[in-house]
C-alpha cells in the first residue's frame, strides 16, 4: 500500500463558471498524470469529466495543461511535474471548455481542413503508384512532421493562436507543409493558397512554443518557416 499522497488540484466546471478542486491521491512508484485523474474519477468523484483512449501516446486525446504547460498526460510521469508534492491540472488552453478537463476540439480540426490538410489525389486506381525517393530533401521534410497525433498540445501552447482567432495554428500548418512535400499529393497550389491567407503561416512570430512542447518532438515552427519560404517564392515568381 502506498504511504504518500499527492495533492491534485483540478480545474472543474465550464468556460464561464470554473473553479479549482483539491484531491488527495495515493502515490505509486510508476504513475502518470492521467493515472491521477483516473484515480480521482474512479474513487472520489465520478462526475469528473476528462478524455483519453489509448494510454500509450498514439491517439492524442488526453492532452491537458499540467502546471500551466500543455502535455500528453498518459506519457507524463507525475514525478517529473510535481512541485511541492502538488500538481495543477486544467483543460487545454485556446479551445472552448465543454466541462472540467474536456475541451471542444472542433476549432482545431476545422483549421486542419482549412489549411488543406487533406489528401489531394489526381490518380485513379489504374495509374501506377507514385514512387517515393526516401533520400530526397522533400521526403525528409515530409517525414519530419508525419508522426503528428493531433493532440493539440502545440495549438494550446501557441500565443499567436491565443491572440488571433483566424490563425490556423502549428499542427494544421505543419500538416500542410508535410503534404506540400509529399510526392503523392497533388494539391500544391490549393495548399499554398490556404496557408498564405489571413490566418496563414505569415502570422507566426516564431515564438517556438509548438516545437518546445510537442510531445512527439516534432518541429512545427520549422515547418511553418518552410511554408513562409514557399509562399514568398511563389509571390515573387507570380509578380514578374
Amino acid at each position: 500500500m502506498p504511504t504518500d499522497v499527492i495533492q491534485v488540484e483540478i480545474q472543474r466546471g465550464t468556460e464561464k463558471d470554473s473553479h479549482v478542486e483539491s484531491f488527495e491521491v495515493p502515490a505509486y512508484e510508476n504513475q502518470t498524470v492521467l493515472d491521477l485523474v483516473s484515480w480521482v474519477q474512479q474513487n472520489t468523484d465520478p462526475t469528473l469529466s476528462y478524455r483519453f483512449a489509448c494510454r500509450v501516446g498514439m491517439c492524442g486525446s488526453c492532452g491537458m495543461m499540467v502546471n500551466g504547460v500543455p502535455r500528453w498526460t498518459c506519457r507524463t510521469h507525475i514525478s517529473k511535474v510535481l512541485v511541492n508534492n502538488t500538481v495543477l491540472i486544467s483543460p487545454l488552453r485556446n479551445l472552448p471548455i465543454i466541462k472540467d478537463l474536456v475541451v471542444d476540439m472542433d476549432p482545431f480540426f476545422d483549421k486542419w481542413v482549412a489549411a488543406e490538410g487533406v489528401h489531394h489525389g489526381e490518380l485513379t486506381r489504374h495509374d501506377p503508384i507514385a514512387s517515393i525517393d526516401e533520400t530526397s530533401q522533400a521526403r525528409k521534410e515530409a517525414n519530419a512532421g508525419i508522426e503528428c497525433i493531433n493532440c493539440s498540445v502545440c495549438y494550446s501552447a501557441c500565443d499567436t493562436v491565443k491572440g488571433n482567432d483566424d490563425y490556423l495554428g502549428p499542427a494544421a500548418l505543419q500538416r500542410a507543409w508535410t503534404l506540400l512535400n509529399d510526392a503523392k499529393d497533388e494539391g500544391r497550389e490549393v495548399i499554398l493558397d490556404a496557408v498564405s491567407g489571413r490566418g496563414g503561416c505569415h502570422n507566426c512570430h516564431s515564438m517556438g512554443s509548438c516545437t518546445s512542447y510537442c510531445p512527439n518532438e516534432l518541429d512545427p515552427m520549422s515547418a511553418i518557416a518552410g511554408l513562409k519560404r514557399e509562399t514568398t517564392k511563389r509571390f515573387f515568381k507570380r509578380s514578374h
Partner: protein
Amino acid sequence: MKSFNQARNRAHPLWLAYILHRVSGLALAVFLPLHFWVLAMAMTNPDKLNGFLSLTDSVLVKIAEFVLVFLLAVHMFGGLRLMAMEWLPWSSSQKTLAAASAAVSFLIAVLFFLQAL
C-alpha cells in the same frame, strides 16, 4: 488561474528570444521620435540643445545610453536570428554553429575595437 497557466507556458529560450526582440523594438520605437526631436533642435533652437546635451554628463543618462545601445544590439541580432531561422532551411545544428561563430566574431571585433580606443 489563467495567468498562472500562461506564465509557465512561456518559460523557454525561443519565447524569451521572441519577447526580447519585441520589447527592444517597441522601446526603440518610443526612443527614436524623441531622438529625432532632440537632433532637430540643432536647427530650430541650438541654445536649448546645448542645455539638453549637458544632461548627458549625468550618471543616469549614461546608464540610459548603455541600455539604448544594448537594445539596439539585441534588436539587430534578434532580427538577424529571425531571418536566418525563417529564411535559411538549415538544420538546427547548422544554426547553432552559425550563431556561435557570429557571437565569437562579434566578441573578437569588440575586443579589437576596445583596444583601438
